[in-house]
């Protein structure tokens, strides 16, 4: 009897312990079973939910130069000029400026761009404005704030990556050098606030503020592309107070992590490792002065036919922004991110490779995705990927003359890009016919580059004409040996390169791959120690100059350290480039571009590969989505229906609880007979 009671006691204690564990676990989850990662209180609000992989290194508009950073800086900092949301090719419209800049050619050959800033523009509320006026939370934006930011770009200590294009401003480099020299010579000067240092040196000579709301930018040579740089955050107004106040001391964040701008949103929360939040700025001129109907603060009423069909013109004339808050959470892994999108917890997503066939079938959305109300947006990136030949190389370059030219032409004719994108990129990518991608002036959808037509027989014939019949090098009697330099050492990268190598093997050419890390690869390019290589370029701004300059001799990598890694040099091409560069869009510019492309067809410094194609998915409750191509957030144009979203989320995410009961039952069924057996034995 005693044995039984003790055994029962033991069983009871085990049961009690189990009960304690269950209670502990249950008490740990008072919010109950739900996969909703957001508090229910925000359900009815116009909050756009998005994700990021890694936080940007800096939000300083003088230095931020990638898509991750622009997702924030583009919303927080406004610019003098903006791009039209719907028109393609992209078109500049006035932003903070009253109108597009007035261009004047000065008698000495210099060019002046005059920007008139809107009146009564305010910075977002911030504590930094109390620096010299206690209690003040904001102030009016003046032209000097833009001049200050341009001086920051020239400041070597800031480390801006865009010094080169702004060096077209008169006296820009001289100012930069004078600043550095003065700091080295005078520690007292170097210790003063930067805005005082800039002021003492008189600022950049080519940047003038004739009045508080007028900014003159004087270029020492014609460079019409400068206007595009005024549509980028590099040239946004920056208050000197923010730069001085946010120095990372006394518990204050650094200016890198605390933007103070004039944009439609403010960064209200910023945790680099978990999430950031953008909230509508009450100081934005679109909110304060809807009566201005400013072009960049009003939803456009003009667009393309496809915009009308997609309902993107339904909001025409309405004041921006429509969304109150953008909440962006960190998701490092692509599969959880995509699954959360399918659950309705992210409003937009790219398509992960693993699910591509499930999502896209026959180049359209699968029926399953359509049934969920998901929409697919495709956009061709303004970029180009290519295989380049080093013109300084004796075998494939200029020294080989006609022989090398024929070799390049032959190699160009066997690379099947359509097959490449099908195998490696789910068919995403537009085969490139020239350096100019779709959406950029000079792109002709009907243009077909004859040198990029895949034709093995013609390629073999060209090899014979080049003096390499069957790919045999007559000097060695063996297969012509070339070296392909790649900056991708991953197995996936090497598999891609192998695709090219196999194609050239059909011509009898033996191509050896040398994969190194990116810095070693750059070092090789700088030293001219390369032969054939793969590279790519993403547009800074939507102008053909930003692509064709990659083949301009003055940008040669070996001689000038520029981005022309082929070291291609052609007198006629250079002449046409210099002329096209400063010309406004029009028939003459188009004719020059066409002639340049014909030179490239013949000379083959590049084998053009593809322009990337981005596929994005959006839920049915998200409105006004149109990819811009270039790195620029469009939160202020978007709208969403929070009621529909809440309804869909509930429908899609009802927890399935019966497996929990099954598991519990199974556990009891397993343990119970054992206890019974044991108790019987004890009896």
């Amino acid at each position: 009897m005693r044995a039984r009671s003790e055994a029962e006691g033991a069983g009871g204690r085990v049961g009690l312990l189990s009960l304690v564990i269950v209670c502990f676990v249950m008490s740990a989850f008072p919010s109950g079973c739900s996969n909703n990662p957001y508090p229910p209180t925000r359900e009815g609000e116009k909050v756009l939910y998005s994700s990021f992989v890694d936080a940007p290194r800096t939000l300083d508009p003088a230095r931020a130069y990638n898509t991750r950073a622009h997702a924030i800086t583009g919303a927080v900092y406004d610019t003098l000029l903006k791009y039209h949301f719907l028109k393609r090719p992209l078109e500049l419209i006035p932003g903070l400026a009253v109108s597009l800049p007035e261009k004047t050619e000065l008698p000495d050959g210099r060019v002046r761009y005059r920007f008139e800033l809107r009146r009564d523009l305010l910075f977002a509320d911030d504590a930094c404005f109390g620096l010299d006026r206690p209690g003040q939370r904001t102030r009016e934006v003046v032209a000097a704030d833009i001049a200050f930011q341009l001086a920051r770009i020239a400041d070597a200590e800031v480390g801006s990556p865009v010094i080169e294009p702004f060096s077209n401003i008169d006296g820009f480099q001289e100012f930069s050098r004078a600043l550095t020299a003065r700091r080295e010579a005078d520690p007292g000067f170097a210790a003063r606030p930067v805005h005082e240092q800039y002021a003492e040196l008189g600022g950049i000579p080519g940047v003038r503020t004739p009045s508080s709301h007028v900014l003159d930018v004087i270029l020492h040579r014609p460079y019409p592309q400068i206007r595009y740089w005024f549509a980028m955050e590099f040239s946004t107004p920056v208050p000197w107070e923010a730069v001085e106040y946010y120095d990372g001391r006394g518990g204050r964040p650094r200016f890198d992590d605390h933007p103070v701008g004039t944009g439609p949103y403010v960064l209200s929360e910023y945790s680099k490792r978990s999430r950031y939040v953008l909230e509508r700025s009450k100081n934005w001129y679109g909110v304060r002065h809807p009566e201005w109907k400013a072009p960049a603060a009003t939803y456009p009423s003009e667009g393309e036919e496809e915009d009308r069909l997609a309902g993107r013109l339904d909001y025409a004339g309405r004041t921006l922004p429509f969304i109150d808050r953008v909440e962006v959470r960190r998701e490092k892994e692509s599969i959880p991110r995509f699954n959360k999108f399918l659950q309705g917890y992210y409003d937009a997503s790219g398509i992960i490779k693993e699910s591509f066939d499930k999502v896209v079938q026959e180049d359209a959305l699968s029926p399953e995705m359509k049934a969920r109300g998901i929409a697919l947006e495709k956009a061709v990136s303004p970029d180009v990927f290519y295989i380049g030949f080093n013109f300084d190389d004796p075998v494939v370059g200029r020294a080989g003359g006609e022989r090398s030219r024929k070799l390049r032409q032959a190699m160009s004719r066997v690379i099947d890009v359509e097959e490449f994108t099908r195998v490696f990129n789910n068919g995403r990518g537009v085969p490139a016919q020239s350096p100019i991608p779709p959406g950029i002036y000079g792109y002709d959808p009907d243009y077909e580059n004859p040198a990029r037509r895949v034709d093995l027989e013609r390629a073999k014939q060209l090899m014979v004409e080049a003096g390499y019949p069957g790919g045999i090098d007559p000097e060695t009697g063996e297969a012509l040996r070339l070296t392909f330099d790649s900056a991708d050492t991953s197995s996936a990268g090497l598999t891609k390169v192998q695709f090219y190598v196999s194609a050239w093997k059909r011509l009898g050419i033996d191509v050896r791959v040398e994969a190194t890390n990116y810095n070693q690869f750059l070092e090789k390019l700088r030293n001219g120690a390369h032969q054939v290589f793969e590279s790519g370029w993403v547009a800074d701004y939507p102008d053909p100059e930003n692509f064709l300059f990659l083949l301009w001799s003055q940008m040669g990598k070996s001689k000038f350290g520029g981005p022309n890694a082929t070291n291609f040099s052609n007198a006629r091409f250079d002449e046409l480039f210099v002329s096209m560069k400063t010309r406004e869009n029009g028939p003459r510019r188009m004719a020059e571009i066409r002639e340049m492309l014909r030179i490239l067809e013949h000379e083959r410094p590049w084998i053009e590969l593809f322009h990337r194609e981005e596929y994005s998915l959006y839920h049915g409750w998200v409105r006004n989505v149109k990819p811009m191509g270039i790195s620029m957030p469009t939160y202020q144009y978007r709208d969403l229906d929070p009621v529909l979203r809440a309804q869909r989320r509930r429908e899609w995410n009802e927890p399935i609880v019966w497996p929990a009961w099954v598991l519990l039952g199974a556990a009891v069924l397993v343990v119970l007979p054992g206890i019974r057996t044991y108790l019987k034995e004890r009896q």
Binding site: R13, V14, P37, R57, I163, S271, Y345, I656
Partner: protein, 320 residues
């Protein structure tokens, strides 16, 4: 005991020096200062900006003392670590101490419940299988433990995210929120995965310890005196098995602070584990060396604490 602690500490200092040297060699064998700068600044950064970055971050100096005895990266590396001057992250120039401070909370919010739950699950389960030794419960328990140990952590993570997060929709697939009402919802899945992946090994280990203790003379004596099996297991066996249990638990404590690398990385928990993973991915030497240094320090201190704790649970242990 003081001499013992001093001796162990001196060994520990040697180990820390070795760890720092090994890290320095391994890191700079595969990465050059230019790679760090390029990673931080992006591919379009011009050479002069790269050079300026290297000067600002001290990477313009030679690596080894024989290249420049007074000013080299190796000595600077030791000086900074041994004076706890962790400096700024190479990836984004943020103060490393701030990053660590911001990661401690999320890490502990995961690792402490994970440790407690792991013990609360593993010890009763191992007592149970030891209690029912040689029965089908014991055999099934051992089989399940071996099965649980054989499955990779990644499979647990992906499987749980798919089954519990996506199919059953019980908890969010990933994410973190420091709001106390939302926090348990985000921790549920990593805790389930953490406990499941660790319980197999722990139960097997504790079961062996319990069975070994069960065959001792004092257990036989207790049985002869008529004590119940349950009393024997909980009062006699468990108490005498405390040293190996304590070793296991105390050794785990330092790692609570360094975070759970995989769980944090895959569930998006902004803790110290994911700081380390991010630092590796971003070529962020400053952060990586700090995390390795702190990890090695905690490990050594944990080892000493474990040894000292033996004396607390077993008065027979003497330190010489």
């Amino acid at each position: 005991m003081g001499a013992y602690v001093l001796r162990r500490l001196s060994y520990g200092i040697g180990v820390v020096f070795g760890v720092l040297f090994l890290l320095f060699i391994l890191f700079f064998t595969v990465t050059k200062p230019d790679d760090i700068a390029r990673r931080a600044l992006g591919e379009k950064a011009p050479p002069e900006v790269i050079e300026q970055w290297k000067i600002n971050h001290g990477y313009d100096r030679p690596l080894w003392p024989w290249q420049d005895w007074d000013d080299n990266l190796l000595f600077d590396h030791y000086e900074r670590m041994l004076t706890f001057d962790f400096g700024l992250s190479d990836a984004d120039d943020s103060p490393i101490t701030e990053r660590i401070a911001s990661g401690v909370g999320p890490s502990l919010s995961l690792t402490v419940p994970l440790l407690v739950l792991g013990i609360l699950v593993a010890i009763p389960l191992s007592l149970l299988v030891a209690f029912f030794r040689e029965t089908y419960i014991d055999r099934m328990g051992v089989f399940l433990c071996v099965l649980a140990m054989s499955v990779s952590m990644l499979l647990y993570i992906i499987g749980a995210q798919f089954l519990i997060g996506k199919v059953l929709r019980w908890y969010p697939i990933s994410g973190f929120d420091s709001n106390l009402l939302m926090l348990p919802r985000f921790l549920a899945l990593p805790l389930i995965v953490g406990v499941l992946s660790g319980v197999g090994g722990d139960v097997r280990f504790y079961r062996t310890v319990f069975l070994e203790e069960s065959s001792r003379d004092f257990v036989r004596t207790a049985r002869a005196k008529g004590a119940s099996e349950a009393r024997i297991m909980t009062r006699h066996v468990l108490r005498n098995a405390m040293i190996p249990i304590l070793t296991n638990v105390v050794l785990a404590i330092p790692f609570l602070f360094t975070g759970a690398l995989l769980l944090e990385a895959f569930f998006g928990i902004p803790g110290l584990g994911s700081i380390t993973v991010d630092a590796i991915a971003a070529n962020d030497f400053s952060t990586l060396r700090t995390m390795v240094f702190i990890g090695s320090l905690l490990f050594i201190l944990g080892q000493i604490a474990t040894d000292l704790s033996y004396g607390l649970v077993d008065p027979r242990v003497r330190f010489e």
